[in-house]
Protein backbone atom coordinates (compact mmCIF):
# COMPACT_ATOMS: atom_id res chain seq x y z
CA UNK A 1 0.00 0.00 0.00
CA UNK A 2 1.22 3.48 -0.84
CA UNK A 3 1.20 6.59 1.28
CA UNK A 4 -2.02 8.26 2.29
CA UNK A 5 -2.89 11.72 0.93
CA UNK A 6 -0.99 14.33 2.96
CA UNK A 7 -4.34 15.88 3.91
CA UNK A 8 -4.96 12.81 6.08
CA UNK A 9 -1.65 13.41 7.88
CA UNK A 10 -2.56 17.05 8.60
CA UNK A 11 -6.00 16.04 9.81
CA UNK A 12 -4.78 13.22 12.03
CA UNK A 13 -1.62 14.73 13.53
CA UNK A 14 -2.05 18.50 13.11
CA UNK A 15 -3.52 19.15 16.57
CA UNK A 16 -0.92 16.95 18.31
CA UNK A 17 1.95 18.70 16.55
CA UNK A 18 0.57 22.12 17.53
CA UNK A 19 0.36 21.06 21.20
CA UNK A 20 3.92 19.73 21.07
CA UNK A 21 5.22 22.91 19.42
CA UNK A 22 3.37 25.00 21.98
CA UNK A 23 4.94 23.09 24.87
CA UNK A 24 8.48 23.31 23.46
CA UNK A 25 8.60 26.88 22.09
CA UNK A 26 5.70 28.55 23.88
CA UNK A 27 2.68 30.53 22.76
CA UNK A 28 4.35 33.12 20.56
CA UNK A 29 6.30 30.81 18.27
CA UNK A 30 4.07 27.73 18.25
CA UNK A 31 2.22 28.54 15.03
CA UNK A 32 5.41 29.38 13.14
CA UNK A 33 6.94 26.10 14.30
CA UNK A 34 3.80 24.20 13.21
CA UNK A 35 3.82 25.80 9.76
CA UNK A 36 7.52 25.11 9.25
CA UNK A 37 7.00 21.52 10.38
CA UNK A 38 4.19 20.71 7.98
CA UNK A 39 5.83 22.50 5.06
CA UNK A 40 9.02 20.47 5.59
CA UNK A 41 6.96 17.30 6.05
CA UNK A 42 5.06 17.95 2.80
CA UNK A 43 8.37 18.43 1.00
CA UNK A 44 9.83 15.15 2.27
CA UNK A 45 6.59 13.12 2.26
CA UNK A 46 6.96 11.36 -1.11
CA UNK A 47 10.35 9.97 0.01
CA UNK A 48 9.07 8.69 3.37
CA UNK A 49 9.19 4.88 3.43
CA UNK A 50 5.60 3.58 3.35
CA UNK A 51 5.96 1.56 6.56
CA UNK A 52 7.39 4.46 8.58
CA UNK A 53 6.00 5.62 11.91
CA UNK A 54 4.48 8.88 10.68
CA UNK A 55 3.90 10.22 14.18
CA UNK A 56 7.53 9.81 15.26
CA UNK A 57 8.69 11.22 11.90
CA UNK A 58 6.55 14.33 12.38
CA UNK A 59 7.72 14.83 15.96
CA UNK A 60 11.34 14.62 14.77
CA UNK A 61 10.69 17.36 12.21
CA UNK A 62 8.74 19.41 14.76
CA UNK A 63 11.65 19.19 17.17
CA UNK A 64 14.10 20.52 14.58
CA UNK A 65 11.76 23.35 13.63
CA UNK A 66 11.06 24.19 17.27
CA UNK A 67 14.78 24.43 18.00
CA UNK A 68 15.25 26.64 14.92
CA UNK A 69 12.53 28.92 16.28
CA UNK A 70 14.16 29.07 19.73
CA UNK A 71 17.55 29.88 18.19
CA UNK A 72 16.08 32.59 15.98
CA UNK A 73 14.23 34.05 18.94
CA UNK A 74 17.41 34.35 20.97
CA UNK A 75 18.86 36.48 18.15
CA UNK A 76 15.99 38.95 17.98
CA UNK A 77 14.18 41.07 20.57
CA UNK A 78 11.46 39.15 22.39
CA UNK A 79 8.06 39.90 20.90
CA UNK A 80 5.13 40.43 23.21
CA UNK A 81 3.63 37.19 24.42
CA UNK A 82 0.35 36.28 22.80
CA UNK A 83 -1.67 33.11 22.75
CA UNK A 84 -1.95 31.41 19.36
CA UNK A 85 -5.49 31.75 18.09
CA UNK A 86 -5.54 28.16 16.87
CA UNK A 87 -5.72 26.78 20.42
CA UNK A 88 -8.95 27.58 22.23
CA UNK A 89 -8.39 27.48 25.97
CA UNK A 90 -11.33 27.06 28.26
CA UNK A 91 -9.71 29.68 30.46
CA UNK A 92 -6.99 31.72 28.73
CA UNK A 93 -5.09 32.02 32.02
CA UNK A 94 -4.66 28.25 32.17
CA UNK A 95 -2.51 28.44 29.03
CA UNK A 96 -0.35 31.23 30.36
CA UNK A 97 0.05 29.47 33.72
CA UNK A 98 1.10 26.26 32.00
CA UNK A 99 3.65 28.02 29.79
CA UNK A 100 4.95 29.94 32.79
CA UNK A 101 5.67 26.59 34.44
CA UNK A 102 7.01 24.87 31.30
CA UNK A 103 9.52 27.62 30.55
CA UNK A 104 11.12 27.10 33.96
CA UNK A 105 11.91 23.44 33.25
CA UNK A 106 15.36 22.56 31.90
CA UNK A 107 14.96 22.15 28.15
CA UNK A 108 15.57 18.40 28.21
CA UNK A 109 12.72 17.94 30.69
CA UNK A 110 10.44 20.25 28.77
CA UNK A 111 11.07 18.41 25.52
CA UNK A 112 10.74 15.02 27.18
CA UNK A 113 7.35 15.76 28.70
CA UNK A 114 6.16 17.20 25.36
CA UNK A 115 7.22 14.19 23.28
CA UNK A 116 6.11 11.61 25.82
CA UNK A 117 2.98 13.11 27.32
CA UNK A 118 1.66 15.14 24.39
CA UNK A 119 2.93 13.22 21.35
CA UNK A 120 2.60 9.86 23.10
CA UNK A 121 6.08 8.68 22.07
CA UNK A 122 7.37 5.85 24.27
CA UNK A 123 10.57 6.66 26.23
CA UNK A 124 12.90 4.66 23.93
CA UNK A 125 11.69 6.85 21.03
CA UNK A 126 12.16 10.00 23.13
CA UNK A 127 15.70 8.87 23.97
CA UNK A 128 16.43 8.28 20.29
CA UNK A 129 15.27 11.84 19.59
CA UNK A 130 17.07 13.61 22.44
CA UNK A 131 20.10 11.37 22.82
CA UNK A 132 20.85 9.43 25.99
CA UNK A 133 19.13 6.22 27.04
CA UNK A 134 15.51 5.32 27.80
CA UNK A 135 16.18 5.31 31.55
CA UNK A 136 17.43 8.88 31.53
CA UNK A 137 14.50 9.93 29.34
CA UNK A 138 12.14 8.30 31.81
CA UNK A 139 13.84 10.15 34.66
CA UNK A 140 13.65 13.48 32.82
CA UNK A 141 9.96 12.85 32.12
CA UNK A 142 9.18 11.98 35.74
CA UNK A 143 11.17 14.96 37.08
CA UNK A 144 9.54 17.28 34.57
CA UNK A 145 6.02 16.17 35.42
CA UNK A 146 6.73 16.39 39.16
CA UNK A 147 8.04 19.97 38.78
CA UNK A 148 5.05 20.94 36.68
CA UNK A 149 2.65 19.50 39.27
CA UNK A 150 4.43 21.45 41.98
CA UNK A 151 4.45 24.71 40.09
CA UNK A 152 0.85 24.36 39.01
CA UNK A 153 -0.51 23.25 42.41
CA UNK A 154 -3.01 25.84 43.68
CA UNK A 155 -0.98 26.40 46.87
CA UNK A 156 2.20 27.04 44.89
CA UNK A 157 0.39 29.55 42.72
CA UNK A 158 -0.89 31.46 45.71
CA UNK A 159 2.36 31.53 47.68
CA UNK A 160 5.14 31.04 45.17
CA UNK A 161 7.02 33.88 43.49
CA UNK A 162 5.74 34.63 40.01
Amino acid sequence: MGREPFEVVVERYGPMVLRVCWAVVGPTLAEDAWSETFLAALRAYPQLAPDSNVEAWLVTIARNKAIDQLRAQSRRPAPTERLPESIRWEEPDAGLDLWDALRRLPRKQRETVAYHYLAGLPYPEVARLLGGNPASARRAGADGIASLRNMLAPSAREKGPR
Binding site: R3, E4, E7, V10, G14, R19, W34, E90, H116, Y117
Partner: protein, 204 residues
Protein backbone atom coordinates in the same frame (compact mmCIF):
# COMPACT_ATOMS: atom_id res chain seq x y z
CA UNK B 1 5.20 -1.25 27.44
CA UNK B 2 4.72 -0.88 31.19
CA UNK B 3 1.88 0.96 32.83
CA UNK B 4 4.23 3.82 33.65
CA UNK B 5 4.86 4.33 29.96
CA UNK B 6 1.26 5.14 29.22
CA UNK B 7 0.98 8.90 29.02
CA UNK B 8 -1.70 10.56 31.12
CA UNK B 9 -2.54 14.24 30.77
CA UNK B 10 -1.81 15.34 34.38
CA UNK B 11 -0.54 18.92 34.24
CA UNK B 12 -1.29 18.93 30.50
CA UNK B 13 -5.02 18.46 30.99
CA UNK B 14 -5.67 22.08 30.02
CA UNK B 15 -3.56 21.77 26.87
CA UNK B 16 -4.76 18.28 25.89
CA UNK B 17 -8.34 19.35 26.44
CA UNK B 18 -8.07 22.68 24.62
CA UNK B 19 -9.79 22.69 21.26
CA UNK B 20 -7.43 23.07 18.30
CA UNK B 21 -8.74 24.85 15.22
CA UNK B 22 -6.34 24.38 12.33
CA UNK B 23 -8.32 26.53 9.87
CA UNK B 24 -5.92 29.46 9.78
CA UNK B 25 -2.81 27.26 9.86
CA UNK B 26 -4.13 25.16 6.98
CA UNK B 27 -4.66 28.26 4.83
CA UNK B 28 -1.11 29.33 5.57
CA UNK B 29 0.22 25.86 4.75
CA UNK B 30 -1.62 25.78 1.43
CA UNK B 31 -0.34 29.27 0.50
CA UNK B 32 3.27 28.44 1.40
CA UNK B 33 3.12 25.04 -0.29
CA UNK B 34 1.67 26.60 -3.43
CA UNK B 35 4.44 29.22 -3.44
CA UNK B 36 7.09 26.50 -3.23
CA UNK B 37 5.39 24.31 -5.87
CA UNK B 38 4.86 21.53 -3.34
CA UNK B 39 1.15 21.03 -3.94
CA UNK B 40 0.85 18.33 -6.56
CA UNK B 41 -2.89 17.77 -6.14
CA UNK B 42 -5.58 19.95 -4.56
CA UNK B 43 -9.17 18.94 -4.05
CA UNK B 44 -12.52 20.19 -2.84
CA UNK B 45 -16.10 19.02 -2.99
CA UNK B 46 -19.17 20.70 -4.48
CA UNK B 47 -22.81 19.88 -3.82
CA UNK B 48 -24.63 19.21 -7.07
CA UNK B 49 -28.12 17.93 -7.93
CA UNK B 50 -26.46 14.57 -8.69
CA UNK B 51 -24.89 14.43 -5.23
CA UNK B 52 -21.63 15.62 -3.76
CA UNK B 53 -18.82 15.71 -6.32
CA UNK B 54 -15.11 15.55 -5.59
CA UNK B 55 -12.98 17.81 -7.80
CA UNK B 56 -9.21 17.38 -7.95
CA UNK B 57 -6.62 19.33 -9.92
CA UNK B 58 -2.91 19.17 -10.61
CA UNK B 59 -0.90 22.18 -11.73
CA UNK B 60 -1.80 21.20 -15.32
CA UNK B 61 -5.54 21.27 -14.76
CA UNK B 62 -8.60 19.36 -13.60
CA UNK B 63 -7.57 15.74 -13.20
CA UNK B 64 -10.54 14.06 -11.54
CA UNK B 65 -14.26 14.49 -10.98
CA UNK B 66 -15.73 11.79 -8.76
CA UNK B 67 -19.23 10.87 -7.69
CA UNK B 68 -19.94 9.99 -4.10
CA UNK B 69 -20.71 6.37 -5.10
CA UNK B 70 -17.08 6.01 -6.17
CA UNK B 71 -16.01 6.66 -2.57
CA UNK B 72 -14.16 9.96 -2.27
CA UNK B 73 -11.58 8.57 0.17
CA UNK B 74 -10.83 5.72 -2.22
CA UNK B 75 -10.48 8.17 -5.10
CA UNK B 76 -8.05 10.33 -3.09
CA UNK B 77 -6.02 7.28 -2.12
CA UNK B 78 -5.77 6.35 -5.79
CA UNK B 79 -4.65 9.88 -6.69
CA UNK B 80 -1.99 9.66 -3.97
CA UNK B 81 -0.73 6.45 -5.51
CA UNK B 82 -0.94 7.34 -9.19
CA UNK B 83 0.00 11.03 -9.13
CA UNK B 84 1.52 12.12 -5.81
CA UNK B 85 0.75 11.88 -2.09
CA UNK B 86 1.29 15.65 -1.83
CA UNK B 87 -2.45 16.25 -1.70
CA UNK B 88 -4.22 18.95 0.28
CA UNK B 89 -7.79 20.15 0.49
CA UNK B 90 -7.84 23.67 -0.97
CA UNK B 91 -10.13 25.79 -3.11
CA UNK B 92 -7.99 28.08 -5.27
CA UNK B 93 -7.27 26.18 -8.45
CA UNK B 94 -10.77 24.65 -8.42
CA UNK B 95 -12.95 27.71 -7.97
CA UNK B 96 -13.36 28.24 -11.73
CA UNK B 97 -14.59 24.74 -12.47
CA UNK B 98 -16.82 24.77 -9.37
CA UNK B 99 -18.47 27.95 -10.68
CA UNK B 100 -18.86 26.46 -14.15
CA UNK B 101 -20.50 23.34 -12.66
CA UNK B 102 -22.97 25.57 -10.81
CA UNK B 103 -23.79 27.30 -14.10
CA UNK B 104 -24.11 23.95 -15.89
CA UNK B 105 -26.59 22.63 -13.34
CA UNK B 106 -28.63 25.83 -13.55
CA UNK B 107 -28.67 25.55 -17.38
CA UNK B 108 -26.62 28.74 -17.73
CA UNK B 109 -23.74 26.91 -19.42
CA UNK B 110 -23.49 24.05 -21.90
CA UNK B 111 -19.76 23.35 -21.88
CA UNK B 112 -16.68 23.68 -19.70
CA UNK B 113 -13.72 25.93 -20.33
CA UNK B 114 -11.03 24.72 -17.96
CA UNK B 115 -7.64 23.13 -18.47
CA UNK B 116 -7.82 19.35 -18.23
CA UNK B 117 -5.11 16.96 -17.11
CA UNK B 118 -5.95 13.66 -18.80
CA UNK B 119 -2.99 11.73 -17.41
CA UNK B 120 -5.27 9.17 -15.72
CA UNK B 121 -6.43 7.90 -19.10
CA UNK B 122 -4.09 6.35 -21.60
CA UNK B 123 -3.99 5.04 -25.15
CA UNK B 124 -7.37 4.08 -26.61
CA UNK B 125 -9.28 5.34 -23.57
CA UNK B 126 -7.68 8.73 -23.98
CA UNK B 127 -8.63 8.77 -27.70
CA UNK B 128 -12.23 7.97 -26.74
CA UNK B 129 -12.32 10.77 -24.13
CA UNK B 130 -11.07 13.23 -26.69
CA UNK B 131 -13.88 12.29 -29.07
CA UNK B 132 -16.54 12.40 -26.35
CA UNK B 133 -16.06 16.13 -26.25
CA UNK B 134 -17.34 16.28 -29.85
CA UNK B 135 -20.84 15.13 -28.83
CA UNK B 136 -22.78 18.38 -28.46
CA UNK B 137 -24.76 19.40 -25.40
CA UNK B 138 -28.30 18.06 -25.56
CA UNK B 139 -27.57 15.19 -27.91
CA UNK B 140 -26.46 11.60 -27.51
CA UNK B 141 -24.34 9.14 -29.46
CA UNK B 142 -24.24 5.36 -29.41
CA UNK B 143 -21.23 3.40 -28.17
CA UNK B 144 -20.83 2.16 -31.75
CA UNK B 145 -20.83 5.71 -33.13
CA UNK B 146 -18.15 6.76 -30.65
CA UNK B 147 -16.08 3.70 -31.60
CA UNK B 148 -16.30 4.84 -35.23
CA UNK B 149 -15.38 8.41 -34.26
CA UNK B 150 -12.35 7.07 -32.41
CA UNK B 151 -11.28 5.24 -35.56
CA UNK B 152 -11.94 1.70 -34.27
CA UNK B 153 -15.51 0.87 -35.29
CA UNK B 154 -15.30 -2.64 -33.84
CA UNK B 155 -14.09 -1.50 -30.40
CA UNK B 156 -17.59 -0.94 -29.02
CA UNK B 157 -16.88 -2.71 -25.72
CA UNK B 158 -13.66 -0.79 -25.27
CA UNK B 159 -15.64 2.44 -25.65
CA UNK B 160 -17.90 1.19 -22.85
CA UNK B 161 -14.83 0.62 -20.67
CA UNK B 162 -13.41 4.04 -21.55
CA UNK B 163 -16.69 5.66 -20.48
CA UNK B 164 -16.91 3.59 -17.29
CA UNK B 165 -13.38 4.64 -16.32
CA UNK B 166 -13.68 8.28 -17.41
CA UNK B 167 -11.70 10.23 -14.76
CA UNK B 168 -13.62 13.42 -15.60
CA UNK B 169 -17.35 12.61 -15.79
CA UNK B 170 -19.74 15.50 -16.53
CA UNK B 171 -16.87 17.70 -17.79
CA UNK B 172 -15.95 15.07 -20.38
CA UNK B 173 -19.52 14.07 -21.29
CA UNK B 174 -19.53 10.28 -21.22
CA UNK B 175 -23.15 10.53 -20.05
CA UNK B 176 -24.07 11.38 -23.66
CA UNK B 177 -23.09 7.90 -24.82
CA UNK B 178 -26.09 5.55 -24.84
CA UNK B 179 -26.95 2.14 -26.23
CA UNK B 180 -27.98 1.72 -29.87
CA UNK B 181 -31.15 -0.11 -28.78
CA UNK B 182 -32.38 3.00 -26.96
CA UNK B 183 -31.27 1.80 -23.53
CA UNK B 184 -29.53 4.42 -21.44
CA UNK B 185 -26.48 2.27 -20.71
CA UNK B 186 -24.43 2.19 -17.53
CA UNK B 187 -22.77 5.15 -15.87
CA UNK B 188 -19.95 5.72 -13.39
CA UNK B 189 -22.26 7.89 -11.26
CA UNK B 190 -25.17 5.43 -11.45
CA UNK B 191 -28.12 5.23 -13.86
CA UNK B 192 -30.10 7.91 -12.01
CA UNK B 193 -27.30 10.43 -12.37
CA UNK B 194 -27.00 9.70 -16.09
CA UNK B 195 -30.73 10.13 -16.59
CA UNK B 196 -30.66 13.37 -14.55
CA UNK B 197 -27.88 14.83 -16.71
CA UNK B 198 -29.57 13.87 -19.98
CA UNK B 199 -32.85 15.40 -18.74
CA UNK B 200 -31.05 18.55 -17.63
CA UNK B 201 -29.63 18.87 -21.14
CA UNK B 202 -33.01 18.13 -22.71
CA UNK B 203 -31.64 15.05 -24.48
CA UNK B 204 -34.36 12.75 -23.14
Amino acid sequence: MTGQDFPEPGPFATLSGAEVDLGRLRLRLVAEAERESLLDVVYRTVDAPVGRLLLAATRRGLVRVAYEVEGHDTVLATLAERISPRILKAGGRLDTVAGQLDDYFSRARSGFEVDLDLRLASRFRLTVLEHLREIPYGSTASYAAVAALAGSPRAVRAVGTACATNPLPIVVPCHRVVRSDGGIGRYVGGDDAKRALLRLEGAI
